[in-house]
Amino acid sequence: MNTRFALEPLGEDAFLLRFGPNIDAATNARVHACAGVLEQHRPSWLIEIVPAFATLAVQVDLNLLAQDEGWRERVQAWLLAHADGEDADATPAPATVHTLPVRYGGEFGPDLDAVARHAGLGPEEVIRRHCAARYQVGMLGFAAGFPYLIGLHESLITPRHATPRTEVMAGSVGIGGEQTGIYPRTGPGGWQIIGRTDARLFDVQREPPALLAAGDVVVFRAVDEYGKPLA
């Protein structure tokens, strides 16, 4: 019997596995463990495995399956057997840790002062707390390679801008509600921008193209405008 997740359709060719109602690191870790198991046993008809905070979507190839009347039941049985099987309990491999240098404040982080005021802290303390956390990549979404990071210090939770900026620079590190994240590409965005990193989050010439994977750990390190670590 399946105890870990609820299964619901997401259109005629996709399924959503729901592991819990909330954004928390433990539920999110179960999503990534399950995604890993499905990936390991991936059949040719499984096109997409898409993790989110508390849910996981899988999309199948109807071209390969739909000739068979009972394909939906067989796919569901396969999902239950693998996503709810023994190996889903196995301890996941240790997460990859990425340390990303960030220039905080000034032209790189135009909203640093606003976040500090909202938190009732000085800008230096905001930087210290933002760098002190180990963040879990909850999911990549919104844009190619955009990481939603879980683990923001409660005092730094800041609402998004009521009106999004039309241009947020590539590499911008932002806070949106209780999440923090990084814009891989220059474009519109509504998060509070507190700094910028030189790390290339997404590069199609690279394999894999995304620097971060869901489930990875991210640590920020404050650097000066020349890229030297701040004391």
């Binding site: 997401l10 959503l16 096109i47 979507a57 109807l62 739909a66 999911m139 390679g145 997404f202 199609v204």
Partner: protein, 319 residues
């Protein structure tokens, strides 16, 4: 051996059957919005159904081919001329070298497709030649066509003709795609229930002017959820019908973002995506409830229709 863009049209992009297997990195599907018309165009010229071709939106481009080409135009009822000659849709057409193909407005529907035998030479990225306008990937440097662009043609049939040669037989898109009929789109249930589910199926939904390849913005009735929930980002797919807080639903199309926080109140079936792709701002769409079994059957029969067309075309070529 290229196609030169003399005038770009409103929004003309290179698309194929889309980019699959990268949603976990935040990379969407892209690809043709009207997969049926695009497949018919490709099949008529002898390409495989998912080959890269041009998607033209509301008003088409003016293009010139440096070599003789075999083409087909399918989808929206677009004005197309070669010199003084009016070019018909849903037919194979051979053009002489240095022909200029002048597209005008779509008189019905929103998206027309131009396929060329052999196809366009576009380096695929992440497995697809499709233009991803949001991410800035190729097709053509990740953007729409601009005047002065030259797109290389892949090797293909170079018909020997001094003036346009129009095939006598044509592919009838009806009933799969009939732009004269009201747009009835079949909808699977979503995971969020509405306070009054009948309203969704009873109302006439008008296509908003802010609609694009990412989604159709609909208005017609104010919808409320039975149980409002906190917005947590979850995976979404093309076809997903989202309900933002303002009560006006958004129907996601091929350029849909990979994740969304809005409640999901339905899901348009794949067999009806071509009809959705042809809706113009101000036009109306009606939603009809549907089951998963019906959805699969309708999709299968659409695919079988395309397969039969491909066989018929290749047999006619051999005869």
């Amino acid at each position: 051996m290229n196609m030169e863009v003399l005038e770009p049209g409103l929004l003309t992009t290179v698309q194929d059957c889309g980019r699959h297997g990268y949603r976990h990195l935040g990379v969407g599907q892209s690809g043709v919005l009207d997969s049926f018309s695009a497949a018919v165009a490709n099949i008529l010229v002898g390409n495989s159904p998912g080959s890269p071709l041009l998607e033209m939106t509301l008003r088409g481009p003016v293009v010139r081919f440096s070599v003789p080409v075999r083409i087909a135009i399918c989808g929206a009822g677009i004005d197309a001329h070669c010199g003084d000659l009016v070019l018909p849709l849903w037919r194979r057409i051979d053009l002489a070298a240095d022909s200029t193909l002048r597209f005008g407005a779509c008189r019905s529907g929103a998206r027309a497709y131009l396929a060329v035998n052999g196809g366009f030479e576009i380096n695929p990225l992440l497995g697809s030649a499709s233009t991803d306008l949001r991410a800035g990937f190729p097709g053509l440097a990740g953007r729409q066509l601009l005047a002065g662009d030259r797109i290389r043609l892949a090797d293909g049939i170079r018909p020997d003709c001094a003036e346009p040669r129009i095939a006598r037989s044509w592919a009838n898109p009806s009933p799969e795609l009939d732009l004269k009929q009201p747009a009835l789109v079949r909808l699977l249930p979503g995971s969020d229930q509405l306070a009054d589910g009948d309203v969704l199926h009873a109302a006439a939904w008008t296509i908003g002017s802010a609609s694009n390849r990412q989604g159709l913005r609909l208005s017609g009735a104010s919808l409320r959820l039975r149980k409002p929930r906190e917005a947590i980002s979850e995976p979404v797919m093309p076809g997903t019908l989202q309900l933002p807080a303002d009560g006006n639903p958004i129907l996601l199309l091929a350029d849909a973002q990979t994740h969304g926080g809005y409640p999901r109140i339905g899901h348009a079936i794949r067999a009806d995506w071509p009809r959705l792709a042809q809706l113009r701002p101000g036009e109306r769409v009606y939603f009809v409830p549907c089951t998963l079994e019906q959805a699969t059957n309708l999709w299968r029969s659409q695919q079988q229709g395309l397969a039969r067309l491909a066989i018929a075309v290749s047999q006619a070529d051999q005869a």
